[in-house]
Symmetry: C2
Subunit: 476 residues, 2 copies
Amino acid sequence: MALPKQSEDFPAWYQAVVKGAELAEPSLVRGTMVIRPYGFAIWERIQQAVDRRIKETGHENLYFPLLIPSKLLEKEAEHVEGFAPEVAVVTQAGGEKLEEPIVIRPTSETIIWATYAKWIQSYRDLPLLYNQWANVVRWELRPRLFLRTTEFLWQEGHTAHETAEEAMAEARTILERVYRETVEDDMALPVRLGRKSASQRFPGAVETLAMEALMRDGRALQAGTSHYLGQNFAKAYDVKFLGRDGKEDYAWASSWGVSTRLVGGLIMAHGDDAGLRLPPALAPIQVVIVPIYRTDEEKAAVTESLTPAVAALKAAGVRVRTDDREEHRPGYKFNEWELKGVPIRLEIGPKDLAKGEIVLYRRDLRQKSPVPLEGLAEYIPGVLAGIQDELFAQALAFREGRTFRPSSYEELKALVKDPGGFIEALWCGRPSCEERVKADTKATIRALPLDPAPVQGLCIVCGEPATELAVWAQAY
Amino acid sequence: MALPKQSEDFPAWYQAVVKGAELAEPSLVRGTMVIRPYGFAIWERIQQAVDRRIKETGHENLYFPLLIPSKLLEKEAEHVEGFAPEVAVVTQAGGEKLEEPIVIRPTSETIIWATYAKWIQSYRDLPLLYNQWANVVRWELRPRLFLRTTEFLWQEGHTAHETAEEAMAEARTILERVYRETVEDDMALPVRLGRKSASQRFPGAVETLAMEALMRDGRALQAGTSHYLGQNFAKAYDVKFLGRDGKEDYAWASSWGVSTRLVGGLIMAHGDDAGLRLPPALAPIQVVIVPIYRTDEEKAAVTESLTPAVAALKAAGVRVRTDDREEHRPGYKFNEWELKGVPIRLEIGPKDLAKGEIVLYRRDLRQKSPVPLEGLAEYIPGVLAGIQDELFAQALAFREGRTFRPSSYEELKALVKDPGGFIEALWCGRPSCEERVKADTKATIRALPLDPAPVQGLCIVCGEPATELAVWAQAY
């Protein structure tokens, strides 16, 4: 299975890895995908890592319906403008034409805030700290597996609060604690946190916060967003509460989500010319063992030596698999597991066995070394932790090497084009300058400081006094 | 919150419990529901219990799309006949009218078998042992929360095999190991396993196996099904494989599912006039502590005494919550937690504290007794295990008391009406007799023996020689 080279054709490389590693494939309805078992097992671990932190920060899961009356979507003006062009509409059901069309949720603010109106009467009912794991549908004209699909899986949190400060703090907690920790600690992927400019905000949000990761082609991936919605949805769906001061007020809101898109980010941030490289924390298989033999006696000896080692590894909590398929040669297996990004491969043949050794191959470094078979189960967890750290360190070093501070607009344009990366530059805050950069380079503002502070200097685009330091990049 | 009495108006009691315990509520699109956090936490635990066993028996999770081209549904004749009247149809998306209508999955055999055609070439590709957790939509004219909803959450397993025997064995394993163990061990709900008669089979199945539980109104609930599909879907979607014998054959299939309906079964099988009674294995809160005090000093003393006890309970893995809400009196709290079915309530006031005791209330028996505060964390897990067993024993005793063997058709009819339950009687195997029972009593055949054996005797309906012992009941 020869992959295209990452450096030569990144999109073709991505597609080949997704297919070759059996992560996902396109399905029949435009833009939909089948997530195959290996890809789903990765998503399941991301999901568990996010869910654990959502619960640790005091949130509960619930579930709202897939189907939303079309007219409900129309109540928040910016929101309907943003989503109406993308929705799928059900017009028949139960063998009859429906009197009122129904949309499949593109996101659930509308149905949730229409319901919160019933649940919230007094400050005693607040905060509501709820989350759901769900599928959503947004009609996608240029689909790409995991990154942009018509249907995707995600979690969407929707909280309601007494005050603006509390809602804003919630949006920050989710971004800084739940999302960043999952992506950095479990996915081994460093992220830049920031605010979005007005043009990049979620439809209906007052402020959109996001985390941005850098892919190995120098493009940014928005890996998760957390929105402060002010009172926009409370006003649209009439969600008022009696405050501590005896006065009525509209509730304050946040919403936030990460999706199966993260799997795409994992592939593009860690993968290399040989395929996937999975961080051990998320790898469905952390260690694959390939026995090597020619004769039946050799096979018996090797197999016998592995039995206690595999049992000990499993007992140590290592996700281990022995690849004893008869129909494939070791070389074929090596390539396959390399493509699938298994962090550690162990090879053992009669010669290794004679020395009481096993050959350990680290996928992150692509290096082999012999290790004693004795004590393997005590040794491996440390190596896995080392691989997790190494992948993070590599991704961080890559990002640092691809973060630039151009001193002129010409330099900015050149850097976006080659080699690409995060371009930090001062900005005057005007949409016209942002639009010009986009028109000239396809780069957008990925992040503005979470806590804006005064800056000294001039906008890199227009030369007028700057208000913020912006991070630009071409993005997925 | 006064509930209707179970014995007087079971449906009204059910509705009041679902609402009062904050499990779920109807949403805006006909037949859809919002699963509230407390109800969802129960479902989440059922889900984990099922998922664990699905994986233990060698299956992997994956994910197929929500949206299916309408024409794909039409390929398996019985299947389309069964589901076409219930589907929701998308005719517009992305702002345009679609050329071909798309259906929202009512179940996923069609899209999955159309995809398996690509994944299966040789016997080496078999078996495929896959499962997905998903939402499905079936237009529901008489919705009832959890039991019959337009959208519901479920898992659907879809397996492909080399032989008929293997596919049938798979359907049995799922029923007997995965489903029965979850429902009996975690839900504390005894089930009868059996085959369905032809009239009750899944559209497209050769054989439908099911587990049936008895609710406290004497009606049966189909709690899960496992289908042997023969080669029907393989033929409809052209899924052939090269066998070990070098010949091509169609793959053999099973499919199986349990859904959020199980939450309805849990309510109706264990609940009593005071509300829910949750088995500890699934209870989101296993122990609720209600501190009792009048003065600030009493409050401080009680609160202080609880801190180490709560920490110890948590450390022992007990899901414990202290209800320290100031706005409610203890009596209000007692009712609320009783309605919510929390297995153990602990009450502690200054007098208890003086004696070094705490009052333990068991929801299953509705009995109070004082227990020493010291060693509480060692004592409670045993009580929880006892409650789990007690609920199962009560449900089993109820079922045994409501299982009848009438000796005449008149007696059968009378028993279905009063008191209701599982009615065992010989049957000749003819649909006409089955239909007559249904017309006369609304009862259907819930279970035929998993392993049919010859019977001696006459059909209770027509008096002709019988072929099987059938279990009849009115069902949800």
